[in-house]
Chain length 174, copies 2
Amino acid sequence: MSATQPEHAEFLSQNAQYVASFGDKGALAMPPARKLAIVTCMDARLDPAAHLGLKEGEAHVIRNAGGVAKEALRSLILSQRLLGTREIAVFHHTDCGMLAFTTPYIQDVLKKDAPGDAAFAARVDAIEWMEFNDLEKAVKDDVAYLKSEPLILEETLVTGWVYDVKTGKVAQVA
Amino acid sequence: MSATQPEHAEFLSQNAQYVASFGDKGALAMPPARKLAIVTCMDARLDPAAHLGLKEGEAHVIRNAGGVAKEALRSLILSQRLLGTREIAVFHHTDCGMLAFTTPYIQDVLKKDAPGDAAFAARVDAIEWMEFNDLEKAVKDDVAYLKSEPLILEETLVTGWVYDVKTGKVAQVA
């Protein structure tokens, strides 16, 4: 593949290998077999299926910048009420961009691309960027939030974890 | 593992195997090497790293119920402006819950759990459930949305795909 080709040009050849070893996965049901939902970060270094040993069909995986539980609420409600999950595990990770970037910095980076454009600035200001400055506290806060959210089922088992990008290790913190 | 044990009880033993073969992945940089961001569904049957051949460090992966681009906007902006991605691939899939469930149905399921609770009902009604009724159209709509969103970089290459849960195959539709 040449350096100037778009990355999606590789999808079909890579996918052909997956399809060749697909086996009986076409018979999997929609509801997750382990009744488990994972919330984690979009970070490219994380492969939650690999580092938690999750197979296709076992768990919902919700990912966003930071692994922020609040932004995952719609998905988690659907996961529980319509697809039967009863356990949530929230994972944040070391060296997360949401630990490094602050709202003023993000707003500044964006607004420099459209100086004097008030409509653009208003769009930037309308977004809640959801950064955090203490990794373990952020995980504990997300677990506390889910435990107190009325739309999350009371009987849900919620745990909180940190993934270490330097070692691949997970550790439970809540 | 007994049937009554929580699912996260398996995380540490599964993770130990991953850590044992972690190799030099601890040296990976935060910005995705392929400058690529994937938006896809939380569905348990999907393992985007496996079915697209993505390795750790290569791409941001954003997942929510449906693989809805609008809910991924905050993450995509951070992916592009702070971590250098320039390509987005949106994946929806066959037999998606968001094709099966409608807003009135979801609201009804939830409200039946708290009859007469006006505060609970108001929380339910405040959520945009983001279902769709035409799979290919939903992918095309998400691609069009990202191409027209002022906070997404104009030079972004945006493509749209359908994943078939019966075969494991991906097909480009936009």
